[in-house]
Amino acid sequence: MLRVEAVEKSFDDFKAVNGANLVVGKGELVAVIGPNGAGKTTLFNLITGQLKPDEGRITFKGEDIGGLPPYEICKKGIARSFQIVNIFPRLTVFENVQVAVLSQQRKSSELLHPAHNIAVEETEVILESVGLSGKALEVAGSLSHGDQKILEIAIALGNEPELLILDEPTAGMSPEETSATMELIKRLADTRGLTILFCEHDMEVVFSVAQSIMVMHQGRTLVQAEPQEVRRNKEVQEAYLGGE
């Protein structure tokens, strides 16, 4: 479904991504791991268009999407959440998700119908599924950090993506919140038939849920394989797991 081939990106003289390869099949739950500064977030930004790749190819369903603007890529069926909370702080929780749903339904430019009765049902279904219905009318900026991270995911769901990309969905969460969030992600993958690509710090989390793991080190892809195989991989052990 998504294929990243030999992608490179540098900032001035620093090669943030230097030969990344990634394959995500339909319906898979794929994780990208790697130490801080390995280039995970940069890779995601390249896939979803926040950055343009210098070299390499990124294809989605056979179509070259490398270098397209983010809103075009989103319309092709890829939605994402961000590592650092990236929401609409002055809008309510409901409105945060509704903005994405309106965009999905191509109604963002409608002028003469009040927004409060458009896309209501779809928005409520999403809030229900992530467990934020109780806080629908709260201003998003006043939510707790954990809830804001969940809202991140909910906004991305508003686009009804085929591929959902989550950049450290549990960053800054307590262990309880982390496991609840991973449960949520697994449930979304099952019930909505979503393909999910995520990156994560917590090894335990990654090895327990991911079907395929891609390991990045200094901007380069070391390997992409099933969890057991990644665990056995010599190169990975040396570079990352520290000979666990």
């Binding site: 979803t48 268009g49 926040q50 603007p69 983010p70 809103y71 989103c74 319309k75 939605a79 994402r80 961000f82 990236n86 929401i87 609409f88 702080p89 002055r90 809008l91 409105e95 945060n96 509704q98 903005v99 994405a100 309106l102 965009s103 999905q104 109604k107 963002s108 430019s109 409608e110 002028l111 003469l112 119908h113 009040p114 927004a115 409060h116 009765n117 458009i118 896309a119 906004i155 991305a156 508003g158 686009n159």
Partner: protein, 319 residues
Amino acid sequence: MFRGITEKRLLWFLAIIFIVLLIFPSILPRFYTYIIALIFVTSLLAMSLNLVVGYGGMFQFHHGVFYGVGAYTVALMLTKTSLPVWVGFVAGPVMATVTGFLIGWFCVRLTRLYFAMLQISLGSLIWAIAFRWYTLTGGDDGIHGVPMPALLSSQNNSYYFILVILTICLMAMYLIVKSPFGRTLQAIRDNPQRCEAVGINVRRHQLKAIVIATFFAGVAGVLFVVLERSVFPDLLFWVLSLEVFIMCLLGGWFTFAGPILGAAIIVSLRTFVGIYTEYWTLVLGVILILLIFFLPEGVMGYFLGKFRPLAKEVAHRSE
């Protein structure tokens, strides 16, 4: 059309205000009627700016240009051509919108301060045309004695005309703000990067907002000519743009009606303090300093913030 987005009580309140405003010209002296009409015109200008500043989060620093273009267009059409009056009235907003599109097209490619600087530069070019092209615009003399149709010849009639147009424009703006377009615009204000990620073409959306806002600024320009029967280059000078910007901040740029309050305060200050001293801007300066320290959300924002918890409590109790 407005069902569900406004409370019934609020609608009654607004209806009463409208009726009171209709009675005003027959009970108030001529001068006060004039000042209130001037507040109406300025309110419309400030409200139109707030669409892009308060709701769109863009640094529209030279909004006066579109007001001036609207006013000059109608004044020129009525003095230099023999076209029907309504053509001039329509041409004003249309020209303002075209100018808005052209300037906006360049500006949305930049962000924040660069947006503001570019707009001031482009706007100043248009000001220079109005200021220097004597044969067409009358230069710094402006154009005076713009003929008005008989229907608008008395001051009371122009007051009513301005009031009706203002009301229509405010209703239209309210619908726009509450529409999916308006909601998306506020989302862009809060977080343009995230908007791109949910599939919104941010620049195009911003440009649409500028075009809409400049249309209303053009309408305000036409109303100014209806009231004053003259135009002068100060209408497109950056000082006026700054004043309108201050009206939004002063009234409360995150509230719908805040700019009306801001316009009323500034026009009144200029008129009534201006009688006593040339330096009325000193008073304005002091008010601004106090505003920044004590009411960062503006006057309207302050009072809404104060009463909202109260309203919530009342609603809670009545459940």
